[in-house]
């Protein structure tokens, strides 16, 4: 396998993705709402109307005391801010990479079929494995860069608006670092691999995106469990989950590289 060829495919795809408004607009709007909008509004509401925390008691009671570290002089509003920033929004940070990777990966083969550029690519000596690795990289790299960028923005916002409410620097926690550095890449790679395969069989981007979008459902379940306090993930548990995903990723990548055959894609060409 020649990485330079795979990287040629990947860089072309990345340039193409970010020059297509149909792909870029949702990639900007949704994270903007989730990463900037929700936490900003939540923290501003707590600062401007501290009484509003009374309405959150039911939500807060779902979280065990052990989930919140001993912070001196922590008010009810501070406790609410901590729980929301550290636990409630954590799930969104799995939704962002899953959403980004689904959109980009759905476009990988299906977009090329729609624009009739895939056939030319298949007639080159780029091997099947170089092609599939290039396509996966083209979705993986921007997904991770974008998610980490969102994480940096989120950190800046919650520290700026959250420290006055909580009373000290509290973010990012250890579990967030594990989430960002291990779980996000592992989950993204899994989603991308599945959606790239779907994209190879789909006839167009919309079809691939619609089918690929269903992989977001298990993540929504995880988000809901985390947000309700049903499942408060510690950094150890997150690391173990990431390891599990990484093993599945390795197995799936091995399988994809072995079973991916361009002659099968050709049969889907017009």
């Amino acid at each position: 396998m020649r990485w330079s060829r795979a990287w040629t495919v990947a860089t072309k795809d990345m340039r193409e993705t970010f020059s297509t408004a149909q792909l870029v607009v949702p990639l900007i709007i949704v994270p903007l709402v989730v990463v900037v909008g929700y936490p900003s509004l939540f923290l501003l509401a707590l600062r401007l109307t501290p009484g509003s925390v009374e309405g959150l008691q039911g939500f807060l009671s779902g979280f065990p005391d052990s989930a919140i570290p001993a912070i001196p002089h922590l008010t009810s509003a501070g406790r609410a801010a901590y729980v929301a920033i550290v636990y409630l929004f954590a799930g969104f940070f799995l939704l962002v990479p899953v959403m980004v990777s689904t959109v980009v990966a759905a476009n990988s083969f299906a977009g090329e079929k729609e624009r009739r550029t895939l056939e030319g690519l298949l007639y080159t000596p780029v091997s099947d494995s170089e092609l599939v690795v290039g396509k996966i990289s083209a979705a993986f790299v921007p997904t991770i860069v974008f998610t980490w960028g969102c994480f940096a923005v989120y950190t800046a916002i919650v520290d700026l608006l959250g420290i006055p409410v909580v009373g000290q620097l509290f973010f990012p926690t250890a579990s967030w670092w594990v989430l960002m550095l291990l779980l996000v890449p592992a989950v993204s790679l899994l989603v991308i691999s599945i959606v790239v395969l779907i994209s190879a069989k789909a006839r167009g981007f919309q079809e691939a995106n619609a089918i690929g979008g269903s992989v977001i459902l298990p993540v929504i379940g995880l988000v809901a469990a985390q947000a309700s306090g049903l499942m408060v993930l510690s950094s150890g548990l997150i690391a173990a989950t990431a390891l599990l995903f990484a093993l599945v990723d390795a197995a799936l990548l091995y399988l994809i590289v072995r079973v991916f055959k361009r002659s099968r894609i050709v049969s889907y060409l017009p």
Partner: protein
């Protein structure tokens, strides 16, 4: 001279449909080879097999000495290909597109820069900085040919390279292919007979999955088209045509409105002796008489059958 393409008893079936049926084909290295056939004859299927994108059901296919069944990536490294409806990344410039294509072949930066310049020149696109999305069809097709040449292929394959072009665009692409003569083997499929006649050395005609004939164009025309006599008289053409039609050596008589009679003959020698005598006996003014030659179109219709084009 060695063979760039060698196909032996190639059969390809899709379910119950037989797309190719015991095809034999040989393309000599350095030639410009026309692969002619009506739409649906199996040309694209053959090209897909030659490039390793489809597997033969039966038979052997060797391209530049490689068996495509086992060496598809090695084959693709040595060939250039232009599909029938080539897609372009419309947001790229021609130079970016050629650099991208070269990257897929793993060509080093220095060589790629040099080659890009030469190919842009060949395609008449030097100095064109607009994005491909703004190109005419002819410009795109010329760029497509340039892209297919980026790896300096020993064999250039083109699937219907002129079918979507206007006459000017066709001429430009054909001139470009013509300029490659002697430098690389060109194999192109088409259903446009005039294109084959204009630039090809050898032609194979494919019909319903079978090669009905393969030969150098001159030989083909000589084999199927030499037996023809064209006569032009000032008056009395109808009566003369009727009389000629009764002769044993006349297999087919056609009349033009301007007094020209085209006769397909079984023996050109006898015809060339008897026709002047028939004209003289009727005291008709003979304006022209010549041994005619069937064009490739007539050969094609004769071999494939009318009504398919």
């Amino acid at each position: 001279m060695s063979a760039a393409v060698e196909i032996r008893r190639l059969t390809k079936t899709y379910g119950h449909k037989r797309a190719l049926d015991r095809v034999d084909l040989q393309v000599e290295e350095g030639s410009i080879f026309g692969f002619l056939g009506p739409n649906g004859a199996g040309k694209t299927t053959t090209l897909r097999i030659l490039t390793g994108l489809a597997r033969p059901t039966k038979g052997t296919v060797r391209v530049l000495g490689h068996d495509v069944a086992t060496a598809d990536n090695a084959v693709r490294a040595d060939i250039g290909f232009l599909p029938d409806v080539p897609g372009f990344y419309e947001w790229m410039t021609a130079e970016e597109f050629l650099h991208f294509a070269g990257g897929l072949f793993g060509i080093g930066r220095k060589v790629l820069d040099e080659r890009t310049g030469v190919l842009l020149e060949l395609a008449g696109l030097t100095g064109v900085t607009t994005r491909i999305g703004g190109y005419s069809r002819g410009m795109k097709q010329r760029l497509g040919v340039a892209q297919a040449l980026i790896n300096a292929p020993r064999l250039l394959m083109l699937d219907e390279p002129t079918s979507a072009l206007d006459p000017m665009g066709r001429k430009e692409v054909l001139d470009m292919l013509q300029s490659l003569r002697g430098r690389t083997t060109v194999f192109f499929s088409t259903h446009i007979l005039a294109d084959v006649e204009r630039i090809c050395d050898t032609v194979a005609i494919l019909d319903r999955g079978r090669v009905v004939v393969q030969a150098p164009i001159d030989e083909l025309k000589a084999r199927y088209g030499a037996e023809k006599v064209v006569i032009e008289v000032g008056e009395g053409a109808d009566e003369l045509a009727e009389a000629i039609g009764r002769m044993e050596w006349a297999t087919k008589v056609e009349r033009d409105t301007n007094g020209t009679i085209s006769v397909t003959v079984s023996d050109a020698g006898v015809a060339s002796r008897e026709v002047p005598a028939m004209v003289a006996a009727r005291k008709l003014p003979l304006l022209r008489m010549e041994a005619g030659e069937m064009g490739l179109e007539e050969v094609f219709v004769q071999l494939v059958g009318g009504g398919q084009q």
